[in-house]
Protein backbone atom coordinates (compact mmCIF):
# COMPACT_ATOMS: atom_id res chain seq x y z
CA UNK A 1 0.00 0.00 0.00
CA UNK A 2 1.36 3.39 -0.94
CA UNK A 3 0.01 6.72 0.32
CA UNK A 4 1.36 9.06 -2.34
CA UNK A 5 1.05 7.64 -5.84
CA UNK A 6 0.90 9.19 -9.27
CA UNK A 7 -2.82 8.32 -9.37
CA UNK A 8 -3.44 10.64 -6.44
CA UNK A 9 -1.73 13.51 -8.26
CA UNK A 10 -3.64 12.74 -11.48
CA UNK A 11 -6.81 13.30 -9.48
CA UNK A 12 -5.50 16.57 -8.00
CA UNK A 13 -4.47 17.78 -11.48
CA UNK A 14 -7.84 16.68 -12.90
CA UNK A 15 -9.70 18.54 -10.15
CA UNK A 16 -7.74 21.70 -10.89
CA UNK A 17 -8.52 21.38 -14.62
CA UNK A 18 -12.21 20.86 -13.82
CA UNK A 19 -12.26 23.97 -11.60
CA UNK A 20 -10.55 25.95 -14.36
CA UNK A 21 -13.18 24.71 -16.86
CA UNK A 22 -15.94 25.66 -14.40
CA UNK A 23 -14.54 29.18 -13.96
CA UNK A 24 -14.49 29.67 -17.73
CA UNK A 25 -18.03 28.33 -18.12
CA UNK A 26 -19.28 30.82 -15.50
CA UNK A 27 -17.43 33.75 -17.07
CA UNK A 28 -19.89 35.48 -19.41
CA UNK A 29 -17.22 37.86 -20.69
CA UNK A 30 -14.84 35.08 -21.87
CA UNK A 31 -14.46 35.37 -25.65
CA UNK A 32 -14.32 31.62 -26.24
CA UNK A 33 -16.38 30.59 -23.29
CA UNK A 34 -17.90 27.25 -24.32
CA UNK A 35 -15.12 25.91 -26.52
CA UNK A 36 -12.54 26.54 -23.80
CA UNK A 37 -14.74 25.17 -21.03
CA UNK A 38 -15.43 21.94 -22.93
CA UNK A 39 -11.73 21.56 -23.86
CA UNK A 40 -10.46 21.80 -20.28
CA UNK A 41 -13.43 19.81 -18.99
CA UNK A 42 -12.75 16.85 -21.30
CA UNK A 43 -9.05 16.96 -20.47
CA UNK A 44 -10.01 16.97 -16.77
CA UNK A 45 -12.04 13.79 -17.35
CA UNK A 46 -9.05 11.96 -18.86
CA UNK A 47 -7.07 12.87 -15.74
CA UNK A 48 -9.81 12.08 -13.22
CA UNK A 49 -11.14 8.86 -14.74
CA UNK A 50 -7.99 7.88 -16.63
CA UNK A 51 -7.66 4.14 -16.95
CA UNK A 52 -11.28 3.62 -15.86
CA UNK A 53 -12.45 5.19 -19.13
CA UNK A 54 -12.76 2.81 -22.09
CA UNK A 55 -9.69 3.63 -24.27
CA UNK A 56 -11.83 4.09 -27.38
CA UNK A 57 -13.86 6.74 -25.55
CA UNK A 58 -10.67 8.57 -24.45
CA UNK A 59 -9.59 8.40 -28.09
CA UNK A 60 -12.79 10.13 -29.22
CA UNK A 61 -12.39 12.70 -26.40
CA UNK A 62 -8.97 13.37 -27.85
CA UNK A 63 -10.48 13.80 -31.30
CA UNK A 64 -12.88 16.36 -29.80
CA UNK A 65 -9.97 18.24 -28.18
CA UNK A 66 -8.19 18.36 -31.54
CA UNK A 67 -11.31 19.64 -33.35
CA UNK A 68 -11.86 22.35 -30.69
CA UNK A 69 -8.22 23.49 -30.90
CA UNK A 70 -8.00 23.35 -34.70
CA UNK A 71 -11.22 25.35 -35.14
CA UNK A 72 -9.86 28.01 -32.73
CA UNK A 73 -12.54 27.48 -30.11
CA UNK A 74 -9.95 27.45 -27.29
CA UNK A 75 -8.54 30.77 -26.20
CA UNK A 76 -7.66 33.03 -23.33
CA UNK A 77 -9.21 36.16 -22.05
CA UNK A 78 -6.95 39.11 -22.81
CA UNK A 79 -5.71 41.36 -19.98
CA UNK A 80 -6.53 38.99 -17.05
CA UNK A 81 -3.16 39.54 -15.19
CA UNK A 82 -2.89 41.65 -12.03
CA UNK A 83 -1.51 45.21 -12.33
CA UNK A 84 2.23 45.72 -12.02
CA UNK A 85 1.93 48.33 -9.24
CA UNK A 86 0.04 45.83 -7.10
CA UNK A 87 2.71 43.18 -7.66
CA UNK A 88 5.57 45.57 -6.86
CA UNK A 89 3.87 46.69 -3.64
CA UNK A 90 3.28 43.10 -2.63
CA UNK A 91 6.90 42.17 -3.43
CA UNK A 92 8.12 45.06 -1.24
CA UNK A 93 5.89 43.89 1.60
CA UNK A 94 6.60 40.16 1.50
CA UNK A 95 10.31 40.40 0.51
CA UNK A 96 12.25 37.14 0.56
CA UNK A 97 9.41 35.22 2.18
CA UNK A 98 8.08 34.92 -1.37
CA UNK A 99 10.92 32.56 -2.22
CA UNK A 100 10.05 30.08 0.51
CA UNK A 101 7.20 28.34 -1.34
CA UNK A 102 9.09 28.43 -4.66
CA UNK A 103 12.17 26.85 -3.09
CA UNK A 104 10.08 24.28 -1.24
CA UNK A 105 9.45 22.62 -4.62
CA UNK A 106 13.09 21.59 -5.21
CA UNK A 107 13.64 21.05 -1.47
CA UNK A 108 10.74 18.61 -1.31
CA UNK A 109 11.94 16.94 -4.48
CA UNK A 110 15.37 16.36 -2.95
CA UNK A 111 13.99 15.21 0.38
CA UNK A 112 11.43 12.98 -1.32
CA UNK A 113 13.96 11.34 -3.61
CA UNK A 114 16.60 10.78 -0.95
CA UNK A 115 14.67 10.17 2.26
CA UNK A 116 10.88 9.98 2.09
CA UNK A 117 11.05 7.06 -0.32
CA UNK A 118 12.44 4.93 2.51
CA UNK A 119 9.69 5.78 5.02
CA UNK A 120 7.26 2.99 5.70
CA UNK A 121 5.23 1.39 8.49
CA UNK A 122 5.14 -2.30 7.68
CA UNK A 123 3.57 -2.52 4.24
CA UNK A 124 2.35 1.06 4.24
CA UNK A 125 4.81 3.16 2.23
CA UNK A 126 4.68 6.95 2.12
CA UNK A 127 5.72 7.34 -1.52
CA UNK A 128 5.43 4.97 -4.43
CA UNK A 129 9.09 4.22 -5.16
CA UNK A 130 8.35 3.20 -8.76
CA UNK A 131 7.90 6.81 -9.78
CA UNK A 132 9.88 8.45 -7.03
CA UNK A 133 11.35 11.50 -8.79
CA UNK A 134 8.08 12.59 -10.44
CA UNK A 135 6.00 11.91 -7.33
CA UNK A 136 8.44 13.92 -5.19
CA UNK A 137 8.15 16.93 -7.48
CA UNK A 138 4.33 16.60 -7.41
CA UNK A 139 4.45 16.53 -3.63
CA UNK A 140 6.69 19.62 -3.79
CA UNK A 141 4.06 21.46 -5.83
CA UNK A 142 1.36 20.55 -3.29
CA UNK A 143 3.50 21.59 -0.31
CA UNK A 144 4.36 24.85 -2.09
CA UNK A 145 0.69 25.77 -2.64
CA UNK A 146 -0.01 25.39 1.08
CA UNK A 147 3.09 27.40 2.01
CA UNK A 148 2.20 29.99 -0.64
CA UNK A 149 -1.25 30.49 0.85
CA UNK A 150 0.28 30.96 4.31
CA UNK A 151 2.98 33.39 3.18
CA UNK A 152 0.70 35.55 1.03
CA UNK A 153 -2.46 35.23 3.11
CA UNK A 154 -4.34 34.79 -0.18
CA UNK A 155 -7.78 33.16 -0.27
CA UNK A 156 -7.88 29.52 -1.42
CA UNK A 157 -9.47 30.57 -4.70
CA UNK A 158 -6.41 32.58 -5.79
CA UNK A 159 -4.19 29.61 -6.79
CA UNK A 160 -7.04 28.23 -8.89
CA UNK A 161 -7.77 31.61 -10.50
CA UNK A 162 -4.10 32.42 -11.21
CA UNK A 163 -3.29 28.84 -12.23
CA UNK A 164 -6.21 28.89 -14.62
CA UNK A 165 -4.90 32.13 -16.12
CA UNK A 166 -1.48 30.52 -16.74
CA UNK A 167 -3.16 27.39 -18.09
CA UNK A 168 -4.90 29.50 -20.70
CA UNK A 169 -1.66 31.33 -21.51
CA UNK A 170 -0.19 27.99 -22.53
CA UNK A 171 -3.48 26.94 -24.11
CA UNK A 172 -4.03 23.73 -26.09
CA UNK A 173 -0.24 23.34 -26.57
CA UNK A 174 -0.12 21.90 -23.06
CA UNK A 175 -1.38 18.52 -24.31
CA UNK A 176 0.89 18.41 -27.37
CA UNK A 177 3.74 16.52 -25.61
CA UNK A 178 1.39 13.87 -24.26
CA UNK A 179 -0.31 13.62 -27.62
CA UNK A 180 3.03 13.18 -29.40
CA UNK A 181 3.92 10.40 -26.99
CA UNK A 182 0.70 8.68 -28.06
CA UNK A 183 1.69 9.13 -31.72
CA UNK A 184 5.04 7.51 -30.89
CA UNK A 185 3.13 4.51 -29.56
CA UNK A 186 1.17 4.22 -32.79
CA UNK A 187 4.36 4.53 -34.88
CA UNK A 188 5.95 1.73 -32.86
CA UNK A 189 2.84 -0.45 -33.19
CA UNK A 190 2.78 0.08 -36.96
CA UNK A 191 6.49 -0.80 -37.31
CA UNK A 192 7.67 2.58 -38.62
CA UNK A 193 11.12 2.31 -37.00
CA UNK A 194 12.18 -0.86 -38.76
CA UNK A 195 11.46 0.71 -42.14
CA UNK A 196 13.58 3.78 -41.33
CA UNK A 197 16.53 1.66 -40.21
CA UNK A 198 16.35 -0.44 -43.41
CA UNK A 199 16.39 2.63 -45.61
CA UNK A 200 19.46 4.12 -43.89
CA UNK A 201 21.31 0.81 -43.87
CA UNK A 202 20.81 0.32 -47.60
CA UNK A 203 21.61 3.87 -48.61
CA UNK A 204 25.01 4.35 -46.90
CA UNK A 205 28.46 2.75 -47.32
CA UNK A 206 28.56 1.47 -43.73
CA UNK A 207 31.61 -0.70 -44.44
CA UNK A 208 33.75 2.30 -43.42
CA UNK A 209 33.98 2.58 -39.60
CA UNK A 210 33.61 6.36 -39.72
CA UNK A 211 30.50 6.17 -41.90
CA UNK A 212 28.96 3.72 -39.45
CA UNK A 213 29.54 6.18 -36.58
CA UNK A 214 28.28 9.09 -38.64
CA UNK A 215 25.15 7.20 -39.74
CA UNK A 216 24.37 6.15 -36.18
CA UNK A 217 24.90 9.59 -34.59
CA UNK A 218 23.15 11.58 -37.30
CA UNK A 219 20.48 8.89 -37.54
CA UNK A 220 19.77 9.24 -33.81
CA UNK A 221 19.52 13.02 -34.14
CA UNK A 222 17.37 12.96 -37.29
CA UNK A 223 15.02 10.26 -36.11
CA UNK A 224 14.62 12.10 -32.80
CA UNK A 225 13.75 15.23 -34.78
CA UNK A 226 11.03 13.23 -36.55
CA UNK A 227 9.70 11.51 -33.43
CA UNK A 228 10.33 14.34 -30.95
CA UNK A 229 11.71 11.86 -28.46
CA UNK A 230 15.19 10.36 -28.18
CA UNK A 231 13.81 7.46 -26.13
CA UNK A 232 11.60 6.46 -29.07
CA UNK A 233 14.46 6.79 -31.55
CA UNK A 234 17.00 4.91 -29.46
CA UNK A 235 15.81 1.30 -29.82
CA UNK A 236 15.04 1.75 -33.51
CA UNK A 237 18.35 3.29 -34.56
CA UNK A 238 20.45 1.23 -32.15
CA UNK A 239 18.98 -2.07 -33.32
CA UNK A 240 18.83 -0.94 -36.96
CA UNK A 241 22.19 0.82 -37.41
CA UNK A 242 24.32 0.87 -34.25
CA UNK A 243 24.51 -2.78 -33.24
CA UNK A 244 24.72 -4.37 -36.71
CA UNK A 245 27.39 -1.99 -38.08
CA UNK A 246 29.39 -0.39 -35.25
CA UNK A 247 29.38 -3.41 -32.92
CA UNK A 248 28.73 -6.29 -35.34
CA UNK A 249 30.74 -5.33 -38.41
CA UNK A 250 33.49 -3.18 -36.84
CA UNK A 251 33.70 -4.67 -33.30
CA UNK A 252 33.05 -1.37 -31.50
CA UNK A 253 32.29 -1.03 -27.79
CA UNK A 254 28.51 -1.19 -27.25
CA UNK A 255 28.54 0.80 -23.98
CA UNK A 256 30.39 3.77 -25.51
CA UNK A 257 28.26 3.63 -28.63
CA UNK A 258 24.98 3.55 -26.76
CA UNK A 259 25.84 6.18 -24.12
CA UNK A 260 27.01 8.73 -26.70
CA UNK A 261 24.30 7.69 -29.16
CA UNK A 262 21.55 8.60 -26.72
CA UNK A 263 23.16 12.01 -26.24
CA UNK A 264 23.12 12.50 -30.04
CA UNK A 265 19.40 11.91 -29.78
CA UNK A 266 19.16 14.73 -27.22
CA UNK A 267 20.81 17.05 -29.76
CA UNK A 268 17.88 16.21 -32.03
CA UNK A 269 15.47 16.99 -29.18
CA UNK A 270 16.91 20.51 -28.99
CA UNK A 271 16.09 21.04 -32.67
CA UNK A 272 12.51 19.89 -33.10
CA UNK A 273 9.04 21.34 -32.48
CA UNK A 274 7.99 17.69 -32.04
CA UNK A 275 9.66 17.82 -28.61
CA UNK A 276 6.86 20.15 -27.62
CA UNK A 277 7.29 20.00 -23.86
CA UNK A 278 10.88 21.24 -24.15
CA UNK A 279 10.59 23.66 -27.04
CA UNK A 280 7.00 24.71 -27.73
CA UNK A 281 5.31 24.78 -24.31
CA UNK A 282 8.15 26.95 -22.86
CA UNK A 283 7.75 29.39 -25.78
CA UNK A 284 4.09 29.79 -24.77
CA UNK A 285 4.90 29.84 -21.06
CA UNK A 286 7.58 32.52 -21.47
CA UNK A 287 5.27 34.48 -23.79
CA UNK A 288 7.65 34.47 -26.74
CA UNK A 289 6.19 35.90 -29.95
CA UNK A 290 8.18 33.54 -32.15
CA UNK A 291 7.09 30.01 -31.25
CA UNK A 292 10.36 28.66 -32.67
CA UNK A 293 12.57 31.08 -30.71
CA UNK A 294 13.67 28.39 -28.23
CA UNK A 295 14.73 26.06 -31.05
CA UNK A 296 16.56 28.87 -32.83
CA UNK A 297 18.49 29.67 -29.64
CA UNK A 298 19.43 25.99 -29.36
CA UNK A 299 20.63 25.36 -32.93
CA UNK A 300 24.29 26.37 -32.36
CA UNK A 301 24.40 24.42 -29.09
CA UNK A 302 22.90 21.27 -30.60
CA UNK A 303 25.17 21.26 -33.65
CA UNK A 304 28.29 21.85 -31.51
CA UNK A 305 27.43 18.98 -29.19
CA UNK A 306 26.51 16.68 -32.07
CA UNK A 307 29.82 17.33 -33.84
CA UNK A 308 31.72 16.72 -30.59
CA UNK A 309 29.77 13.48 -30.05
CA UNK A 310 30.61 12.16 -33.51
CA UNK A 311 34.32 12.90 -33.00
CA UNK A 312 34.28 11.45 -29.50
CA UNK A 313 32.54 8.27 -30.58
CA UNK A 314 34.80 7.77 -33.60
CA UNK A 315 37.96 8.15 -31.51
CA UNK A 316 36.78 6.01 -28.59
CA UNK A 317 34.31 3.39 -29.73
CA UNK A 318 36.83 1.29 -31.70
CA UNK A 319 39.59 1.78 -29.13
CA UNK A 320 38.30 0.86 -25.68
Amino acid sequence: MKLLTLDLFYIIAGTFLLLAAGRIALDRTHPQRWGSAVFWGLLALTFLAGKALPPTLSGYFLLALVVLAATKQVGEKPEAGSPLTERVASAARLKNRLFVPALLIPATAILGTLALSRLHVGDLWLIDSASITVTSVCLGAAVAVVAGLRVTGAPVTTPVAEGSRLLQTIGWAIILPQFLAALGGIFAKAGVGAVVADVVAQALPTQYPFVAVLAYCVGMALFTICMGNAFAAFPVITLGIGLPFIVGLHAGNPAIMAAIGMLCGYCGTLLTPMAANFNVVPAMLLELRDKNAVIKAQVPIALTILAANIALMYFCVYRF
Binding site: G59, P101, V137, A141, G148, T158, F179, I186, I260
Partner: protein, 229 residues
Protein backbone atom coordinates in the same frame (compact mmCIF):
# COMPACT_ATOMS: atom_id res chain seq x y z
CA UNK B 1 7.99 2.55 -47.24
CA UNK B 2 4.32 3.55 -47.21
CA UNK B 3 4.47 3.31 -43.41
CA UNK B 4 6.60 6.46 -43.37
CA UNK B 5 3.57 8.49 -44.41
CA UNK B 6 3.10 9.58 -40.77
CA UNK B 7 6.57 11.12 -40.62
CA UNK B 8 5.90 12.86 -43.93
CA UNK B 9 2.60 14.29 -42.67
CA UNK B 10 4.26 15.52 -39.47
CA UNK B 11 7.12 17.17 -41.37
CA UNK B 12 4.87 18.81 -43.96
CA UNK B 13 2.20 19.77 -41.42
CA UNK B 14 4.66 21.46 -39.05
CA UNK B 15 6.40 23.21 -41.95
CA UNK B 16 3.09 24.53 -43.31
CA UNK B 17 2.11 25.65 -39.80
CA UNK B 18 -1.12 23.73 -39.50
CA UNK B 19 -2.39 23.30 -35.96
CA UNK B 20 0.10 20.79 -34.45
CA UNK B 21 -2.61 18.79 -32.68
CA UNK B 22 -4.38 18.34 -36.01
CA UNK B 23 -1.11 17.31 -37.70
CA UNK B 24 -0.38 14.69 -35.03
CA UNK B 25 -3.89 13.28 -35.20
CA UNK B 26 -3.74 13.09 -39.01
CA UNK B 27 -0.31 11.39 -38.88
CA UNK B 28 -1.58 8.82 -36.38
CA UNK B 29 -4.71 8.06 -38.36
CA UNK B 30 -2.83 7.76 -41.67
CA UNK B 31 -0.13 5.52 -40.15
CA UNK B 32 -2.75 3.33 -38.50
CA UNK B 33 -4.80 2.99 -41.68
CA UNK B 34 -1.82 1.97 -43.86
CA UNK B 35 -0.84 -0.56 -41.18
CA UNK B 36 -4.32 -2.09 -41.59
CA UNK B 37 -6.05 -0.84 -38.43
CA UNK B 38 -9.67 0.28 -38.35
CA UNK B 39 -10.61 3.84 -37.34
CA UNK B 40 -11.95 2.64 -33.99
CA UNK B 41 -8.76 0.69 -33.32
CA UNK B 42 -6.72 3.82 -33.98
CA UNK B 43 -8.90 5.83 -31.57
CA UNK B 44 -8.47 3.06 -29.01
CA UNK B 45 -4.66 3.22 -29.38
CA UNK B 46 -4.66 7.02 -29.14
CA UNK B 47 -6.83 6.78 -26.01
CA UNK B 48 -4.69 4.10 -24.40
CA UNK B 49 -1.35 5.80 -25.04
CA UNK B 50 -2.69 9.27 -24.17
CA UNK B 51 -3.89 8.09 -20.76
CA UNK B 52 -0.70 6.07 -20.24
CA UNK B 53 1.40 9.20 -20.83
CA UNK B 54 -0.47 11.55 -18.48
CA UNK B 55 2.73 11.91 -16.44
CA UNK B 56 4.17 13.97 -19.33
CA UNK B 57 1.65 16.78 -18.69
CA UNK B 58 1.17 16.22 -14.97
CA UNK B 59 4.09 18.30 -13.65
CA UNK B 60 3.31 21.38 -15.74
CA UNK B 61 -0.34 21.35 -14.63
CA UNK B 62 0.51 20.89 -10.96
CA UNK B 63 2.99 23.79 -11.02
CA UNK B 64 0.50 26.32 -12.41
CA UNK B 65 -1.50 27.12 -9.23
CA UNK B 66 1.53 27.83 -7.04
CA UNK B 67 3.46 29.68 -9.75
CA UNK B 68 0.37 31.76 -10.58
CA UNK B 69 -0.22 32.55 -6.91
CA UNK B 70 3.36 33.63 -6.24
CA UNK B 71 3.46 35.70 -9.43
CA UNK B 72 0.30 37.49 -8.35
CA UNK B 73 2.08 38.46 -5.14
CA UNK B 74 5.23 39.70 -6.84
CA UNK B 75 7.68 36.76 -6.95
CA UNK B 76 9.13 37.79 -10.31
CA UNK B 77 9.53 41.41 -9.18
CA UNK B 78 11.25 40.28 -5.98
CA UNK B 79 13.62 37.98 -7.87
CA UNK B 80 14.58 40.92 -10.04
CA UNK B 81 15.18 43.22 -7.04
CA UNK B 82 17.43 40.63 -5.45
CA UNK B 83 19.60 40.00 -8.49
CA UNK B 84 20.10 43.76 -8.97
CA UNK B 85 22.17 43.75 -5.79
CA UNK B 86 24.66 41.26 -7.23
CA UNK B 87 27.08 43.59 -9.01
CA UNK B 88 28.82 40.96 -11.10
CA UNK B 89 25.60 39.42 -12.39
CA UNK B 90 24.83 39.50 -16.10
CA UNK B 91 21.94 37.79 -17.88
CA UNK B 92 24.37 35.30 -19.39
CA UNK B 93 26.04 34.46 -16.07
CA UNK B 94 22.67 33.89 -14.41
CA UNK B 95 21.73 31.44 -17.17
CA UNK B 96 25.08 29.67 -17.11
CA UNK B 97 24.88 29.28 -13.34
CA UNK B 98 21.40 27.79 -13.72
CA UNK B 99 22.65 25.31 -16.35
CA UNK B 100 25.42 24.21 -13.99
CA UNK B 101 23.04 23.74 -11.05
CA UNK B 102 20.68 21.80 -13.29
CA UNK B 103 23.42 19.54 -14.68
CA UNK B 104 24.87 18.72 -11.28
CA UNK B 105 21.55 18.12 -9.56
CA UNK B 106 20.12 15.91 -12.28
CA UNK B 107 23.37 13.98 -12.38
CA UNK B 108 22.64 13.17 -8.74
CA UNK B 109 19.17 11.98 -9.72
CA UNK B 110 17.35 15.04 -8.42
CA UNK B 111 14.91 16.84 -10.68
CA UNK B 112 14.74 20.43 -9.40
CA UNK B 113 14.08 22.45 -12.50
CA UNK B 114 11.42 22.83 -15.10
CA UNK B 115 10.15 25.56 -17.37
CA UNK B 116 7.07 26.11 -15.22
CA UNK B 117 8.58 25.64 -11.76
CA UNK B 118 11.89 27.51 -12.17
CA UNK B 119 12.42 29.20 -15.53
CA UNK B 120 9.29 31.36 -15.68
CA UNK B 121 9.04 32.40 -12.02
CA UNK B 122 12.75 32.71 -11.11
CA UNK B 123 15.33 32.30 -13.87
CA UNK B 124 13.95 34.72 -16.49
CA UNK B 125 13.17 37.53 -14.01
CA UNK B 126 16.69 37.20 -12.60
CA UNK B 127 18.34 37.16 -16.02
CA UNK B 128 16.27 40.09 -17.28
CA UNK B 129 16.78 41.88 -13.96
CA UNK B 130 20.56 41.51 -14.19
CA UNK B 131 20.49 42.93 -17.71
CA UNK B 132 18.23 45.83 -16.64
CA UNK B 133 20.47 46.65 -13.69
CA UNK B 134 23.41 47.12 -16.07
CA UNK B 135 21.79 48.56 -19.14
CA UNK B 136 18.47 50.14 -18.10
CA UNK B 137 15.21 49.29 -19.85
CA UNK B 138 15.53 46.48 -22.39
CA UNK B 139 14.18 46.61 -25.94
CA UNK B 140 11.51 43.97 -26.47
CA UNK B 141 13.66 41.88 -28.84
CA UNK B 142 16.43 41.73 -26.20
CA UNK B 143 14.12 40.51 -23.50
CA UNK B 144 12.69 37.90 -25.91
CA UNK B 145 16.24 36.69 -26.64
CA UNK B 146 17.01 36.40 -22.94
CA UNK B 147 13.89 34.32 -22.37
CA UNK B 148 14.56 32.00 -25.31
CA UNK B 149 18.08 31.41 -23.99
CA UNK B 150 16.70 30.75 -20.51
CA UNK B 151 14.59 27.94 -21.95
CA UNK B 152 17.73 26.65 -23.70
CA UNK B 153 19.69 26.78 -20.42
CA UNK B 154 17.03 24.60 -18.80
CA UNK B 155 16.98 22.08 -21.66
CA UNK B 156 20.77 21.79 -21.99
CA UNK B 157 21.22 21.42 -18.23
CA UNK B 158 18.46 18.84 -18.07
CA UNK B 159 19.50 16.69 -21.04
CA UNK B 160 23.26 16.66 -20.68
CA UNK B 161 23.56 16.16 -16.96
CA UNK B 162 21.21 13.24 -16.83
CA UNK B 163 23.32 10.36 -18.06
CA UNK B 164 26.28 10.89 -15.75
CA UNK B 165 27.32 9.62 -12.31
CA UNK B 166 23.99 8.29 -11.06
CA UNK B 167 22.11 5.87 -13.22
CA UNK B 168 18.70 7.34 -13.93
CA UNK B 169 15.92 6.86 -16.49
CA UNK B 170 17.72 6.89 -19.79
CA UNK B 171 20.55 4.64 -18.60
CA UNK B 172 18.09 1.89 -17.79
CA UNK B 173 16.45 2.25 -21.18
CA UNK B 174 19.88 1.90 -22.83
CA UNK B 175 20.78 -1.09 -20.70
CA UNK B 176 17.39 -2.70 -21.41
CA UNK B 177 17.79 -2.37 -25.16
CA UNK B 178 21.38 -3.67 -25.16
CA UNK B 179 20.59 -6.52 -22.75
CA UNK B 180 17.66 -7.80 -24.78
CA UNK B 181 19.88 -7.87 -27.86
CA UNK B 182 22.52 -9.91 -26.02
CA UNK B 183 25.13 -7.25 -25.13
CA UNK B 184 25.84 -7.12 -21.40
CA UNK B 185 26.99 -3.66 -20.31
CA UNK B 186 27.38 -2.14 -16.87
CA UNK B 187 25.40 0.96 -15.93
CA UNK B 188 28.65 2.48 -14.66
CA UNK B 189 30.30 2.28 -18.06
CA UNK B 190 27.26 3.93 -19.59
CA UNK B 191 27.27 6.81 -17.10
CA UNK B 192 31.03 7.29 -17.37
CA UNK B 193 30.80 7.79 -21.14
CA UNK B 194 28.16 10.47 -20.66
CA UNK B 195 30.58 12.78 -18.83
CA UNK B 196 32.65 14.12 -21.77
CA UNK B 197 29.50 15.23 -23.58
CA UNK B 198 28.19 16.86 -20.39
CA UNK B 199 31.35 18.98 -20.31
CA UNK B 200 31.06 19.84 -24.02
CA UNK B 201 27.42 20.87 -23.44
CA UNK B 202 28.44 23.19 -20.60
CA UNK B 203 31.15 24.67 -22.84
CA UNK B 204 28.63 25.25 -25.63
CA UNK B 205 26.29 26.99 -23.19
CA UNK B 206 29.18 29.15 -21.94
CA UNK B 207 29.84 30.23 -25.53
CA UNK B 208 26.15 31.04 -26.16
CA UNK B 209 25.69 33.11 -22.99
CA UNK B 210 28.76 35.18 -23.90
CA UNK B 211 27.17 35.80 -27.30
CA UNK B 212 23.94 36.72 -25.49
CA UNK B 213 25.67 39.17 -23.14
CA UNK B 214 27.38 40.86 -26.07
CA UNK B 215 24.10 41.05 -27.92
CA UNK B 216 22.44 42.70 -24.91
CA UNK B 217 25.23 45.27 -24.73
CA UNK B 218 24.89 46.03 -28.42
CA UNK B 219 21.12 46.31 -28.40
CA UNK B 220 20.97 48.51 -25.32
CA UNK B 221 23.84 50.83 -26.30
CA UNK B 222 22.31 54.27 -26.83
CA UNK B 223 22.43 55.36 -30.46
CA UNK B 224 24.95 58.22 -30.90
CA UNK B 225 23.32 61.63 -30.48
CA UNK B 226 22.90 63.99 -33.43
CA UNK B 227 25.96 65.96 -34.42
CA UNK B 228 28.43 63.83 -32.45
CA UNK B 229 30.90 61.29 -33.90
Amino acid sequence: MIKLIGILIVGAGFALRFNPLLVVMAAGIATGLVAGMSFNEIMELFGTYFVQNRNVTLLVILMLPVVGLLERYGLRERAETLIRRVRSATAGRVLLFYTAVRQVSIALGINIGGHAAMVRPLVTPMAEGAARARHGELPDQTSQAIRANAAAAENVGNFFGEDTIFAVGAIYLIKGVLDTSGHKVSVWALSLWGIPTALVAFGAMWWRVRVLDRRIERETAAPPAEGER
